[in-house]
């Protein structure tokens, strides 16, 4: 599982970085979305992978080994929220830029040939 998980993150990061380096605002936006998936998965992975052990306590004296590490989950939740907000902002920015400059190039003008 760890290998699949790592490859998944690798591909998400690779695709995200590729898009990030593209010249069109929408591409960059998509890249940011992919990167946020990757980052979230990455943080989440730092708590290690474990199945069927959600950190929801069902006993009085819990054995910590029987539950997934809740800390990365909490961190990812925060990251998801912040990522959502910034994605929205980014979208509006790129619309504004498109409206003001007439191009969807990230630099606000078409590159010279």
């Amino acid at each position: 599982m760890e290998l699949v998980y790592s490859i998944a993150i690798g591909v998400l990061v690779g695709s995200g970085v590729w898009l990030l380096l593209r010249p069109r605002t929408f591409q960059v936006l998509m890249g940011l979305v992919l990167l946020s998936y990757a980052t979230n998965l990455f943080i989440f992975g730092m708590g290690r992978l474990s199945m069927h052990v959600p950190p929801i306590i069902d006993e009085a004296a819990p054995d910590p080994a029987r539950y997934a590490d809740p800390v990365p989950q909490a961190l990812v939740l925060t990251a998801i929220v912040i990522g959502f907000a910034t994605t929205a902002l980014y979208l509006v920015m790129l619309l504004a830029l498109r409206g003001l400059t007439g191009t969807d190039h990230v630099d606000g003008r078409e590159p010279d040939r």
């Binding site: 690798g10 990061v13 590729w18 960059v28 199945m51 800390v71 989950q73 939740l77 498109r98």
Partner: protein
């Protein structure tokens, strides 16, 4: 106290002067004159203390950690210079009163003049080298302001800037040199430095330090090759030229040479550098002065030449040479200042300083002529004038020093040549202006002798005469005091007298005088006095400065465009590249190894799932440019796979939240795509160029490196046993201390509620920012039109009018029925998620998102107008309330004398209902809930409102371009 007063008074005067009304010429002059005179008196009154080698000191603690105090120190040498500064200063103030036009805004002039005087005095009296540098730079600054006094003149601006750039650069070199000196000596105190001469000269840093200090001195004293700023500085008002650029400020460099003479001089390096620069300046200056057309130009180059003479004297390394240097500093100041003043008088009376136009003024301005002739005589070194005395000393020392250094003939020859030119230009200066046929009637103004304006000049000329005839009685003791201050109590034999007998210097002097007269006569006869300076005029400093300036700016612009690319891709590439490097390098250095923890057995389903996820990610990357909708859908696919992964590995809260975010994000993107005109996939030749392909390859390499790096890091951590101490604590105390079973939620609202507080603030901020942005949003012109689909569906347009209808009349009728039925259910689900989040997956955030989505869906099926006529959500209020609720819940803990965000609980037992457990964390989560609803709705609805704002032209004009915001073509 007196010392402080001497330095402080001019600055106070400056401050006062600045606040006078702009026409208060007399008041300004009185104020400044009194300040200068008082300073002069104060300085004079200290003579008793410094005569015979005494030193007056004042020290105020300032920065003891670094060995820098405010330390004023006056010895004989400083006294002499301070006297010069204050005395000439007083005269210049008087002179200025008459020189400056009544309509000139003089407060600025006098303020800066006073400030300059203060700075100069501070420099002269500095007992600490750092402090000296401070005042040194301050003189440059005030000089800049004074040169640019008539800043509307381009030459004034340029001259000021040139002077500032050269002298400040020199000052910084001096600072570097002084810093080194301080390290070498272990102190910046002048006393210590002057004591440590031998150690300094033996120090390995001596050479670089010396070069730096000399750079400072040479730039300030306009020594070759840094002299070019001085002629340009002549754009200043003439009193400024007289005061700063002949008498005092330009003397700062040679002042420093003499000041540090005991510590630095008498090495070979010193000799060659100082004498070399001095000799070059002497000759270049004198030569150039001979060919100037502007009276002030003659004086400026002459100043450079005389400063070269002084520099040479300092460089010779002989004690007599130094005494001669100090003597000539004083002499030069007197005659040159008076010459400048006379020039100003001529300019003032005739309206020009052009030597070509001025002729035979002796008839119209006899007094002026007399003053100028005497002063010029002193400049030329005519006997019975002070210039003669120091020139004789100079010639004599040139023989001595030449003998020592092995330049037996070169040195005296150079000195004689310099004197020769000096005679020539002095003669020319007088002859061109005051003699020859009178052309008075051709001048802009009819000149007369302005008696009062001549007084300062005449006083100085008087001093020239007095010193020239009775040197030993007048200046003798002063010079001795100054020399003792530098050289110590034992002085070499020297005699200040007009007549020394027939000596070699006298012969050289005679030769120079004869030669000078002959040269001028020759030039005059050949009508060569008004040509441009032979050979040297090719080096037009003004032009070179401008060229250098523009070249530097242009070069910097070009370089700056490379160093600070304006292209986002370049920046991102660099950041990504650095991050990749930062990730890989430690692994390369420290070794990469996967951990030893046992792997989780592979579930093929998970692998299959991620085959889909990977395909979606790559597909999205591939499609994002031309097929945005397809890319969006694929991103959605990748998102769902991420959700499933969270669920798979025991993170229900994450999965839940991510689902909600996915949905909202998709809607958001679609709302945005409405305003993003479609990209047409043309057969773009750019995509096929070699460069484009190379760029894509490079990006692909970066992407691959980043991906592989991320994968490697993930794998390395995943295969290591877990090591969290936090997890253990949270899992153990969640239920007993946090009263919640869902540890993630307890972390979010209790253990690390502070993070959540910050996070919801981010959401709130972004929402109001988006709102503000959209309020002034100008959509792309090609997306303003009503979408084509709506224009073509006229029937729908007609139906739409009935917003009062309870249900839509068209195809949205049934969706509306169903989706509106969903609204209360979704609301209930959102509250369910909120309320039970503490014990099971859920919480304020996901609850809020669910509620927001429910609201958005209503907008989707019913339209903005319909919904808002019935259901008012006040998102901004919700945001504010959410933030306040969360924040105040945190603050509420203070009432219980607990730190912020400490949870307070209340357990009740009610009849029928049973046990009720109330906790402030629920309130906190409620704040999150409200804020998320507000923020999300605000962002999405603000975007949706754009359709309301933009003109809804149902009947678009025929020629209107086909709006291209349509979704993917069928080939998508």
């Amino acid at each position: 106290m007196q010392l402080e007063l001497i330095v402080l008074l001019p600055f106070l005067g400056s401050l006062c002067a600045a606040f006078f009304p702009s026409n208060a010429r007399n008041a300004e002059a009185w104020l400044s004159g009194i300040v200068a005179a008082v300073c002069a008196v104060l300085v004079a009154s200290l003579y008793g203390d410094v005569a015979g080698g005494g030193v007056v000191r004042t020290r105020i603690d300032w920065l003891p950690q670094l060995g820098v105090d405010f330390y004023l120190r006056m010895d004989g040498y400083a006294w002499l210079f301070a006297m010069l500064v204050t005395f000439v200063g007083t005269l210049v103030v008087i002179y200025s009163r008459y020189y400056m036009s009544p309509s000139d805004p003089v407060p600025r002039f006098f303020a800066f003049l006073m400030a300059f005087m203060g700075a100069m005095l501070g420099m002269v009296l500095s007992g600490n080298l750092i402090q000296l540098v401070v005042f040194w730079e301050l003189t440059s600054l005030t000089s800049f302001m004074l040169i640019a006094y008539w800043y509307h003149r381009p030459d004034a601006r340029r001259g000021a800037r040139m002077a500032a750039i050269v002298t400040v650069a020199g000052g910084l070199c001096l600072l570097a040199g002084v810093l080194m000196l301080g390290q070498m000596v272990g102190s910046y105190d002048l006393d210590d430095v002057l004591q440590a001469g031998d150690a300094i000269r033996a120090h390995p840093w001596y050479a670089p330090m010396l070069v730096l200090v000399l750079l400072g001195a040479f730039t300030k004293s306009a020594q070759f090759p840094f002299h070019f700023w001085l002629p340009q500085a002549m754009a200043a008002p003439t009193p400024v030229s007289a005061y700063l650029h002949s008498a005092t400020m330009v003397k700062a460099g040679v002042f420093l040479l003499a000041r540090l003479w005991p510590a630095l001089a008498s090495t070979e390096l010193w000799f060659w550098l100082v004498c070399g620069a001095g000799a070059a300046s002497l000759l270049v200056g004198a030569f150039s002065a001979t060919f100037q057309r502007d009276m002030k130009g003659v004086l400026a180059y002459s100043t450079m030449s005389h400063l070269g003479l002084i520099t040479m004297l300092c460089g010779m390394g002989t004690e007599l040479g130094l005494i001669a240097a100090v003597f000539h500093m004083m002499n030069h100041a007197t005659f040159k200042a008076s010459l400048f003043m006379a020039t100003g008088v001529v300019d003032h009376e005739t309206g020009t300083r052009d030597l070509k136009r001025l002729n035979g003024l002796r008839h119209a301005m006899p007094l002026t002529a007399a003053v100028a002739i005497v002063a010029a005589g002193a400049m030329a070194g005519v006997p019975l004038l002070n210039g003669f005395l120091s020139k004789e000393m100079f010639l004599e020392e040139s023989i001595v020093a030449g003998g020592v250094s092995g330049l037996r003939f070169t040195f005296p020859a150079l000195a004689t040549l310099g004197s020769l030119f000096s005679v020539a230009y002095s003669l020319r200066f007088i002859h061109e202006v005051f003699f020859g046929p009178s052309t008075v009637h051709e001048l802009p103004r009819q000149p007369h002798d302005p008696a009062r304006m001549l007084v300062p000049s005449a006083l100085l000329v008087g001093a020239c005469l007095l010193v020239g005839t009775l040197p030993a009685r007048t200046v003798g003791p002063l010079l001795e005091t100054a020399a003792i201050a530098i050289l110590g109590p034992v002085l070499p034999e020297y005699r200040l007298a007009v007549w020394h007998g027939f000596t070699a210097p006298l012969l050289m002097s005679l030769a120079a005088t004869t030669g000078g007269v002959a040269l001028y006569v020759y030039l005059y006869r050949r009508r060569m006095t008004l040509i441009r300076t032979p050979f040297l005029s090719r080096f037009d400093s003004k032009r070179m400065f401008d060229v250098a300036n523009v070249a530097a700016t242009r070069g910097a612009s070009r370089l700056g465009r490379v160093l600070f690319s304006r292209r986002l891709q370049t920046q991102l590439l660099l950041i990504v590249g650095f991050a990749i490097g930062a990730g890989y390098l430690p692994l390369l250095a420290g070794g990469y190894s996967p951990g030893a923890a046992p792997l989780t057995p592979l579930d093929p389903l998970f692998a299959l799932l991620w085959i889909g996820g990977v395909a979606c990610a790559i597909g999205a990357a591939h499609q994002a440019k031309f097929h945005r909708l397809a890319a969006l859908i694929m991103i959605g696919g990748a998102g769902l796979v991420t959700v499933l992964t969270f669920a798979w590995f025991s993170a229900p809260d994450l999965a839940l939240t991510q689902i909600a975010v996915e949905v909202v994000t998709t809607v958001l993107f679609l709302l945005g795509l409405r305003w993003l005109p479609r990209r047409l996939q043309l057969d773009d030749p750019r995509r096929r160029t070699v460069r484009a392909r190379a760029r894509r390859t490079r990006d692909a390499v970066f992407a691959a490196a980043a991906g592989i790096g991320a994968g490697l890091l993930t794998f390395a951590v995943l295969t290591r046993p877990g090591s969290s101490t936090l997890a253990e604590f949270f899992l153990e105390s969640s239920l007993p201390e946090g009263d919640g079973r869902n540890v993630v939620n307890v972390i979010l609202v209790d253990f690390r509620g502070f993070d959540t507080l910050g996070e919801i603030t981010v959401v709130g901020i972004v929402a109001i920012t988006v709102y503000a942005l959209l309020r002034r949003f100008r959509p792309a012109p090609d997306s303003i039109d009503v979408p084509r689909a709506q224009r073509e569906d006229a029937a729908r347009a007609a139906l739409q009018e009935h917003t009062a209808d309870a249900l839509p009349r068209d195809y949205m009728r049934l969706p509306a029925v169903l989706v509106r039925l969903l609204f209360p259910m979704a609301w209930l689900v959102s509250l369910y998620l909120l309320l039970r989040g503490h014990n099971a997956p859920g919480g304020g955030f996901v609850g809020g998102l669910v509620m927001a989505t429910a609201i958005i869906v209503q907008y989707m099926v019913s339209g903005t107008i319909w919904i808002e006529s019935r259901l008012r959500v006040h998102p901004q209020v919700l945001i504010a309330l959410g933030l306040l609720a969360a924040g105040l819940t945190g603050v509420a803990a203070w009432l219980a004398r607990q730190p912020l965000l400490t949870s307070l609980t209340l357990d009740l037992h009610l009849p029928v209902v049973g046990d009720v457990h109330l906790s402030t964390v629920l309130l906190f989560d409620l704040g999150v809930y409200l804020l998320v609803i507000g923020g999300t709705v605000l962002m999405l609805i603000a975007l949706a409102h754009q359709s309301l704002r933009s003109p809804r032209r149902v009947h678009a004009p025929e020629h209107a371009p086909e709006p291209r915001h349509e979704a993917e073509g069928a080939a998508g």
